[in-house]
C-alpha cells in the first residue's frame, strides 16, 4: 500500500483538469485523467417510497433517467460518459434491489456504447447504512453485512468503480461542527474517521479485486459538506467550514493508502488535495451541482477535476426535459469548454483553470483553500506528517494560518465575526498536542459516550 510522503504533483503547471500522473483506464478504452474531462452524471428518485411494492416503479424511474441521459449524451457528441448510481439507504438495506438498478443502468450504458460508440463508465456507491444502529456499529452485524453484500452484488451487476461516502466519526463530528469545536473535529476526522477508513477500505479493495472492479474513493461529504451547507445557511462561520475541508484530507487519503485508485468521489471537495498527493484522478462538482446544493465554490471546483459532476438531481420534469437529462446537457457543455481550452495547448488550459479559480477564490475562504497553488502548499505540509492525526492537526494549523495570511495580504476579506472565529480556531489548533495518545485520552474523557462506540474504532 502506498504511504504518501511526497506530492505526486508539485509543479503548478501540471496541476490541471483532465490530466493526472496515475490515470485510470477501463477495458473499453475510457481513460480518466488522460487528457479529457468527462461528464459524470448522478441522479436520484423523485418523491416516492422505496418498498417491495414500489420496486417496479423504482426500476422504471432509473431506466427512464439513464435512457434520457444516454440519448442526450449521444446527441451532444459527448466524448464519453460516466454515470454514478448512488444507492439510497433502502437500496442498500436490501442489497438485491441496488443490484437490480445497477443492472438496468449497466444495460443501457452498454447498449449506448455498442450502438453509438460512446465510451461509458459506471460508478456505484452503496450507502453507509452502518449509522442506522445507534450509536453506529461499524465492524459487525446486519447493517455491515448488508452494506458489504451491496458492494459485492453491485460489482457483480456491472459497476466499473466502487465508492462510498463513509461516516465513521460523523456521530461525533456533527456536534463538533455546530459547537465550533476544533478538537472534536480533529478527533472525529483524524482519529476515528481515519481508523474506520483503514478498516473499511481494506475490505472494499478486497471486494473490488474479487470482482475485477476499480476501488475509486471516499468522500468526507458527511463532514466537510455538512459544514459547507451550514456555513451557507449562516449557521457556522465560513472560516470554520474552510478549515474542516482541509482537515478532511488526511481522512479521505486513507482510502488511497489502502488501495483506492480513483476517480475520487464527486462531492469530495478535498479531491484536489487527494489528486496532488496521490496523482490519482478525481471527480468534482460545482456550478452544475446547484440542482443539489448551494456552494461558494462553483467555478473553482472546475480547476483540476478529471470528471465533472452534478452531485445529484431527482427525476422531475423541467421545461427542457426530465431533470437528469437537463443536468447531463449542462455537464456536457461545461466539459466541452474545458476540453476545447486544453486542445489549444497547456497555456490555454492553464488560463481557463486560473480564471475559474480567480472568479471564486477571493470571495469565500472555502474557495480560497481550493486555489490550486494553495492546495499544493497545504498538501505538502499535510504530507510532511507521518500519521492521520498529525496530518489532521497540521491541516488545521496550516489552513487557518493560510486564511489569516490571505486576510492580511488582502487576497480574502471576511467580516469581524469571521475574524474573531479565525482567531478562536487558531488558538484551539495551536493547543492540539503532538502526542496522539495524549490527545485521544483527553478526547475520550470528553466525548458523549451515548453517541459513539469507541470499541468500534479499536479504542478501548
Amino acid at each position: 500500500m502506498p504511504g504518501y510522503t511526497s506530492l505526486a504533483i508539485s509543479n503548478i503547471d501540471n496541476f490541471i483538469y483532465g490530466n493526472c500522473p496515475r490515470p485510470v483506464a477501463l477495458k473499453n478504452g475510457l481513460v480518466i485523467g488522460g487528457g479529457t474531462v468527462y461528464p459524470e452524471l448522478n441522479f436520484t428518485l423523485p418523491d416516492m417510497l422505496i418498498e417491495k411494492s414500489s420496486m417496479p416503479e423504482v426500476l422504471k424511474q432509473y431506466a427512464q433517467m439513464i435512457e434520457g441521459a444516454c440519448q442526450r449524451a449521444v446527441e451532444l457528441h459527448a466524448p464519453g460518459l460516466v454515470v454514478e448510481f448512488e444507492l439510497l439507504p433502502d437500496l442498500t438495506l436490501t442489497p438485491q434491489w441496488g443490484a437490480e438498478v445497477t443492472a438496468i443502468v449497466r444495460e443501457t450504458l452498454d447498449k449506448t456504447q455498442s450502438q453509438h460508440g460512446l465510451k461509458v463508465g459506471l460508478r456505484v456507491t452503496p450507502n453507509d447504512i452502518r449509522e442506522f444502529a445507534h450509536p453506529p456499529i461499524l465492524r459487525s452485524g446486519g447493517f455491515v453485512d448488508k452494506m458489504f453484500r451491496s458492494f459485492e452484488l453491485c460489482a457483480a451487476a456491472g459497476a466499473d468503480f466502487l465508492a462510498v461516502e463513509s461516516t465513521g466519526g460523523k456521530e461525533i463530528h456533527d456536534d463538533a461542527i455546530l459547537n465550533g469545536d476544533l478538537h472534536g473535529s480533529v478527533f472525529a476526522l483524524g482519529v476515528l474517521g481515519a481508523r474506520d477508513m483503514a478498516w473499511l477500505w481494506r475490505r472494499i479493495v478486497e471486494i473490488s479485486s474479487s470482482y475485477s472492479v476499480i476501488p475509486s474513493g471516499d468522500s468526507a461529504c458527511g463532514f466537510a459538506n455538512t459544514a459547507m451547507v451550514l456555513a451557507e445557511q449562516k449557521f457556522i462561520p465560513r472560516v470554520w467550514a474552510a478549515a474542516i475541508r482541509v482537515m478532511s484530507v488526511p481522512r479521505s487519503l486513507v482510502a488511497f493508502e489502502q488501495g483506492a485508485l480513483g476517480p475520487n468521489k464527486d462531492c469530495a471537495y478535498e479531491g484536489p488535495f487527494i489528486k496532488a498527493i496521490t496523482g490519482c484522478p478525481i471527480s468534482l462538482e460545482g456550478a452544475e451541482a446547484a440542482c443539489a446544493h448551494l456552494s461558494p465554490i462553483g467555478n473553482i471546483a472546475k480547476a483540476v477535476p478529471d470528471l465533472w459532476s452534478n452531485e445529484s438531481v431527482n427525476n422531475v420534469k423541467l421545461l427542457g426535459a426530465m431533470a437528469p437529462t437537463v443536468s447531463l446537457e449542462q455537464l456536457v457543455y461545461a466539459t466541452r469548454l474545458m476540453n476545447v481550452a486544453s486542445s489549444h495547448g497547456p497555456a490555454s488550459a492553464r488560463a481557463l483553470r486560473d480564471w475559474v479559480s480567480e472568479s471564486d477564490a477571493t470571495l469565500d475562504p472555502q474557495a480560497y483553500v481550493l486555489r490550486p497553488d494553495v492546495v499544493l502548499d497545504l498538501s505538502a505540509q499535510i504530507i510532511a506528517e507521518p500519521t492521520p492525526y498529525l496530518r489532521t492537526r497540521r491541516a488545521a494549523q496550516a489552513a487557518l494560518a493560510c486564511l489569516r495570511q490571505a486576510g492580511a495580504n488582502g487576497e480574502l476579506t471576511y467580516s469581524n465575526l469571521e475574524r474573531r472565529w479565525l482567531d478562536k480556531l487558531s488558538r484551539s489548533a495551536d493547543e492540539l498536542p503532538e502526542n496522539e495518545q495524549e490527545f485521544t485520552a483527553t478526547m475520550i474523557s470528553l466525548v458523549n459516550k451515548t453517541k459513539v462506540r469507541l470499541e468500534e474504532y479499536g479504542i478501548e
Partner: protein, 212 residues
C-alpha cells in the same frame, strides 16, 4: 432588584453557565417568582440570542453556548417551576421520519424551541409513526415536528400524519414539518399544519400553531 434579572440575561447572552445558575439561585433566594425569572430573564435572553442570530451577529455555536447557560439556570429553576405549577408553552415531540438519519436540522429546531420555553421530547432519528402516536397518547405531546432530508423519506411525513389520524389522535396535536426537499405546498398536500423553511423560523411557526 431588576438588575439581578439583568445579570441572568447577560450571563445567558454571554454563554456563562455557572454564573447563570448562581444568579438564578440568588433570585430564588430573594423571593422572585420562578415564572418571572424564566420569562423576564431567561426566555428574554434566548429571544435576544435568536435576534442576534437572525441578524448575523451570532452563529449556532454562540447560540448553543447560550442554550447551555440557559439549561444550567433551568436545572436550578425547574423544581420551583413544577411547584408553582408553571406550564411550558407546549410539549413538542421532534424527530426525523422513518428511514432518515439526518438530524442536524432537527437538533437545531429542538434547541431553538427549548430556548423559547417549549418542552422537548426528542425522539431521535428514523422514528416510526407508532412512536409519534405513543408520544401523543402517553406523553401529552401537543405539537409534533417532523424532519426529512431525502425525497425517498419525506413520504413518511404523510404516512405519519395518516397514522396519527388512524389512531384517532390527529385532533390533539399540531404537526409542523421541515427539511431540504420539503415545501409549503407539500405541507398543505399531506395535511400538516405548518412548514418552516429553516430552524430559525421554526419557533415563530410553533408559537403560532399552539396559540391558534
Amino acid at each position: 432588584m431588576e438588575h439581578l434579572l439583568q445579570q441572568i440575561y447577560d450571563h445567558i447572552l454571554n454563554g456563562e453557565a455557572k454564573p447563570t445558575a448562581a444568579a438564578v439561585q440568588q433570585c430564588l433566594d430573594l423571593g422572585f417568582e420562578p415564572g418571572q425569572i424564566l420569562s423576564e430573564a431567561m426566555v428574554a435572553a434566548m429571544a435576544e440570542v435568536g435576534r442576534l442570530f437572525e441578524e448575523g451577529e451570532y452563529y449556532v455555536p454562540e447560540m448553543l453556548v447560550a442554550a447551555r447557560a440557559m439549561q444550567s439556570g433551568l436545572a436550578v429553576l425547574k423544581p420551583h417551576l413544577v411547584k408553582a405549577n408553571y406550564k411550558p408553552v407546549a410539549k413538542v415531540a421532534i424527530g426525523t421520519v422513518k428511514g432518515d438519519l439526518h438530524d442536524i436540522g432537527k437538533n437545531l429546531v429542538g434547541m431553538m424551541l427549548e430556548g423559547a420555553s417549549f418542552e422537548i421530547l426528542d425522539l431521535g432519528t428514523d422514528v416510526s409513526p407508532e412512536k409519534f402516536i405513543a408520544a401523543v397518547k402517553e406523553q401529552g405531546v401537543n405539537l409534533i415536528a417532523l424532519s426529512a432530508l431525502l425525497t425517498t423519506t419525506m413520504p413518511y411525513m404523510r404516512t405519519t400524519i395518516d397514522a396519527l389520524k388512524a389512531a384517532g389522535v390527529r385532533s390533539q396535536v399540531k404537526v409542523m414539518i421541515g427539511g431540504a426537499p420539503v415545501t409549503e405546498n407539500y405541507a398543505r398536500e399531506i395535511g400538516a399544519d405548518g412548514y418552516s423553511a429553516d430552524a430559525s423560523k421554526a419557533v415563530s411557526l410553533a408559537r403560532s400553531l399552539v396559540e391558534a
